[in-house]
Amino acid sequence: MDCYTANWNPLGDSAFYRKYELYSMDWSLKEELRDCLVAAAPYGGPIALLRNPWRKEKAASVRPVLEIYSASGMPLASLLWKSGPVVSLGWSAEEELLCVQEDGVVLVYGLHGDFRRHFSMGNEVLQNRVLDARIFHTEFGSGVAILTGAHRFTLSANVGDLKLRRMPEVPGLQTAPSCWTTLCQDRVAHILLAVGPDLYLLDHAACSAVTPPGLAPGVSSFLQMAVSFTYRHLALFTDTGYIWMGTASLKEKLCEFNCNIRAPPKQMVWCSRPRSKEKAVVVAWERRLMVVGDAPESIQYKQLTIQVLLDRLVLRRLYPLAIQICEYLRLPEVQGVSRILAHWACYKVQQKDVSDEDVARAINQKLGDTPGVSYSDIAARAYGCGRTELAIKLLEYEPRSGEQVPLLLKMKRSKLALSKAIESGDTDLVFTVLLHLKNELNRGDFFMTLRNQPMALSLYRQFCKHQELETLKDLYNQDDNHQELGSFHIRASYAAQERIEGRVTALQTAVDAFYKAKNEFAAKATEDQMRLLRLQRRLEDELGGQFLDLSLHDTVTTLILGGHNKRAEQLARDFRIPDKRLWWLKLTALADLEDWEELEKFSKSKKSPIGYLPFVEICMKQHNKYEAKKYASRVGPEQKVKALLLVGDVAQAADVAIERRNEAELSLVLSHCTGATDGATADKIQRARAQAQKK
């Protein structure tokens, strides 16, 4: 600190540089760094290091070691590499380490060296092996691009949602390109490669030759290319010793610089000074470093949002610090503390040396009823670690029973899932579990389970009613629900059975069921129905016409309308149709036929059980006043006034009403006194009223 400029060295004419150790890396390298695969995550993330024995002529007998350090050099993980040879390492935006193997399998590890998953880059890659691989970042996530031994490219733009794309062939490509990189333009990933003096751009559909504008002539090969982090800029290093810098779209040149070195550089990257708009390219050879600048650009740093920062802390298992930050920033619980606690819990369930009970208790104590914490998510993690019992214990703390169900099903705890689904009151969820159970259990066990869950049973019945009629029958059978069985067979008797015998058989089964249900009424009624069906069949045979499925009442009516009075009488007797209804029936039918003679005969056959007013009404309905009047005289005193009014005899109606001294009837008659000739009648009524009041 004695002199601020003491350790600054001149760089060219106008710049100075200094070198000082930021962090001392806590690693002990036996081999040289150049023999290792190294990958540093963006935004000062972790560094991965794979001591690589495969590059050496003779493979070492010792297994290589994968090591992960924080950016400040603290060791985070170290593990023996037991899989196949690795070609390339890279970090995803989520700080997952992607290790691309020679066979095209990509192994994914967490920050702490925990294995996450693996996926393959496809058969073509497997067959032709990986020659070279790049991990790149786009706005959608992190991608992997592979160059195979057959000089073909395969890429996936987002390893989180793996969709493999095999890029088109480059015409005439016999050897590996001298250099290549991935570009991202218009939200689509491309590959730019150099073959001899030519540049090609590969997209999903085509391979097109491109030329950088203003490139100095004489280039026979591109030795190195670099694209800026935002995919805006591109730098090309030519075998003529020139560095061309321009836009990645290859539409604009920014500058070109002759560095007079023709040896291929070991590395070339874009960089920028903090808070500066200037961008520069750093080129490295074995013993030389060169900075080439002059590309003014407005750089927009993608800010690390607070959410990303918290994610990073969580990934580093710095839970207390993350919570302190949330509390300091007063973040809403759901976005802040709850989320971090949930992450902590997910980490906690992976501690295999702690008993299920203790883990569950510890988690519940810390989380309690913190809003926004999903116990089912934590339980899912526990199940993912193979701790089913712990998962079930954790699910018990989940207040939303609906959330418990999918995991329980996954863990094959279907019966528990069923009771939780029922608790949730979500019928859809209950159905889902039921169908699961149905496939999982044999029929007997399934029914048994239903039996203990009345709500599920009734829902399942509803389902069967629409979807599986036969099962419905079995359910009723199992429950000895004879009443419903009876109804079931009644329905069945109507379903698609043309032949009368089939219907009768179904009905007989229904009758038996009704008797078992001690529903004598239904049994007898159904027996009557069978009798009627057979009879209707016989009527159709003997008389022609349609009788089947008419009601008894309508059958009798049809017989009368067809002039088969005897048969009608017989049927009415057989089925004991009450007299009153039979009279209404005959009255209506004969009036419909306008068979006035028969109607009169009928009316005189015995004293009408329904009185004679209906006769008057029905004749008037058929506009036959003459016939109506015949019956009006026979109407009993209670309804006489009404009958006389119906046939239009207002005067006589008045007389009867006066005689009966019935005030209501008097008013009724009076309200009918509308014709010109009714004046006298009206007066008469008024006089009678006055007289009645005097008394």
Partner: protein
Amino acid sequence: MAAHLSYGRVNLNVLREAVRRELREFLDKCAGSKAIVWDEYLTGPFGLIAQYSLLKEHEVEKMFTLKGSRLPAADVKNIIFFVRPRLELMDIIAENVLSEDRRGPARDFHLLFVPRRSLLCEQRLKDLGVLGSFIHREEYSLDLIPFDGDLLSMESEGAFKQVANMMIRMKREFTGSQNSIFPIFDNLLLLDRNVDLLTPLATQLTYEGLIDEIYGIQNSYVKLPPEKFAPKKQGDGGKDLPTEAKKLQLNSAEELYAEIRDKNFNAVGSVLSKKAKVISAAFEERHNAKTVGEIKQFVSQLPHMQAARGSLANHTSIAELIKDVTTSEDFFDKLTVEQEFMSGIDTDKVNSYIEDCIARKHPLIKVLRLICLQSVCNSGLKQKVLDYYKREILQTYGYEHILTLHNLEKAGLLKPQTGGRNNYPTIRKTLRLWMDDVNEQNPTDISYVYSGHAPLSVRLAQLLSRPGWRSIEEVLRMLPGPHFEERQPLPTGLQKKRQPGENRVTLIFFLGGVTFAEIAALRFLSQLEDGGTEYVIATTKLMNGASWLESLMEKPF
């Protein structure tokens, strides 16, 4: 546009706006031109929240009704299915998707479940091999549709018994994810239709109730016989009598309707004739308008006056139509029987009017409604009486109705009297369900809506607000189902001081349906000056006796 929804104590238009926004958001997710394939059942409810113009603004160019086989041709980019989550509908959708012409231009399929997404249905689509065909598969929570300023309905056929338990649990589950808000409602009263089976069976006698009884109100629309609405223009010579039914929307947005809908029908005539005088007097004013200013003033009022005159003409016509029915002898006879039953006269023997109705083959619904009413008013029928009715029905209307009868018995609408005890009279007396002196013109009690019968459901609500149910515990035990009360204490910060004279707001939720007459009775209570409680009404379904029994009827062929 839907201003009538915001008149009440609780602004229900907020709900309507929310569902409209959600609909627009979904439509915009499916970029480009679209055709909607409708589950026909949904078109009614959707009509209450969005007109075609809204859909059109979001590039909906065609609408189809969901049916089997191939979809009609339509030059659109997106096909969106709007459906209830029902398995049978999934089968139809799959058929549509599978028979899509591959040679034609590719169309994107989307699926919108109303009101809930269903795993079961998605599984079915998966089994049928079409689940992957849908780009957007979402749910649209159109469950409580605002019908009026104080009325919400789910318009769903099924009703849910465990709603009460569920709501309590939901409260526990959702406390985390929702920020605390000032409660809008002071009380929530859940009423299961089973508690009051009687009321819907009786004929409603309010204006709106009678329109519903006679013509049926569907999603706030009614279709009426057109003859009475023929435009009275000269020169037409009456040659073009309209043949299509007259369709009218009925809600409180119409001033006159808001005034008369809840009145007993017998009190409607006088209001209409008074209105007629006021309106023609207003039109007469034009003769008094002398100065330019006066004329201008008159003209500015014209549109409102003309609307009022149109509204008056419509309701005068409707009232005439109803009057034709209510003054008929048969209506009178039926009403007499209903009122006898409800006041406890001769409920335990075979009723000769019902017998005659059967013998004359009156509509089965009418017969069943009366028999069920008798059964409920008698705590069940004597076995002999019940069997007689049933046998008469089977012989007259057909043996297949044994299924319907069984359904009615399961629903408790029809049953044999058990233990030979009829406790309905006790309930009727204690809760004053029958009032002999009803003032139809200027009502003093809720019983005016059925001209004598006070709906038990509404009486319970009334008693709960004052003096509380403790006074009627004995009767409550006689009613079906358990009753319970839960208090949810508010966090201290949210307790507000009631202004003097400010009423409590109660949300009353009818599970299994509510009638217009019951709604009228509750509005009557809300309006009472010393009532102390205003009601917002929610229900699973707006219903009447006929639609209710219809839902329980089963026709096997």
